[in-house]
């Protein structure tokens, strides 16, 4: 089964983070894709992605309204959208990743 890793994060970290995670996981189920979703909420970071998860994945979906460190995703196809899009368009995001044509993320250190 193909695997996609995700990160969801929102400013307060109370609700949207988990809504987007749930939508992405559900959409993954219907599309036959394994979804690993790391949540950055008020509780802290949960379900942390392992290096193995990232290596095995076909790409990364980040749905967030706050800044997320993307260093570990260097060289992976990466889609980055708002948290709202993560909730509203979860299936579309996963389908886009499956279809390919996603830009490869090249990490640059910011100073």
């Amino acid at each position: 089964m193909k695997k996609i890793v995700c990160i969801t994060a929102c400013p307060t970290g109370i609700a949207h983070t988990y809504m987007a995670a749930e939508m992405l996981e559900n959409a993954g189920k219907s599309l036959g894709v394994s979804i690993q979703c790391e949540t950055h909420g008020a509780i802290g970071i949960e379900n942390k992605l392992s290096e193995k998860d990232i290596t095995e994945s076909i790409g990364v979906i980040i749905a967030s309204d706050i800044r997320v460190d993307k260093k570990r995703f260097h060289g992976k196809p990466l889609i980055e959208v708002s948290i709202q899009k993560g909730i509203q368009e979860a299936s579309k995001l996963i389908q886009t990743m499956l279809d390919g044509h996603v830009k490869i993320y090249m990490h640059k250190e910011e100073f």
Binding site: P11, T12, G13, I14, A15, H16, T17, Y18, M19, A21, E22, M23, N26, T39, G41, A42, I43, D65, S82, I83, Q84, I87, Q88
Partner: protein
Amino acid sequence: MLMNELIKPEDVLLDFDAKTKDEAMEMLANILYTHHKIDDLQGFLKDIYEREAITSTGIGFGIAIPHAKSSHVLIPTVIFARSIEGIPFDAMDGKDAHLFFMIAMPEDGTNAHLRVLAMLSRKLMHEDFREALFDVQSLDEALKLLHTMN
């Protein structure tokens, strides 16, 4: 057990009749104030709108979840209100909101409460749960459904 602490009978309103987003915010916050869950109505509303300014908490699917971690919160509480008619809430999908959850968390909210809110958020993404909430006929029925989160 935790959901019972967050949503008490006095926190549920099944015939919510606000007409606008602002009116909805004020009415929901007023329930909190009336039951001494917050110490300052305007102060709490300010925190709610500050969060709202980042993105609308009208998340679509007929749901709105205005929320704030605020120093004005005395008791962590979730107000649940249902509007049969629906209220425009700047939702991303353009649809009116029917199910409202106003979440009032103190700044030092415990992880246990945050966890139960995470569960609620996840559950709200399921259509059958939303429909069941929309269809409840009584306060008891609403509480029973909401408390299944535990």
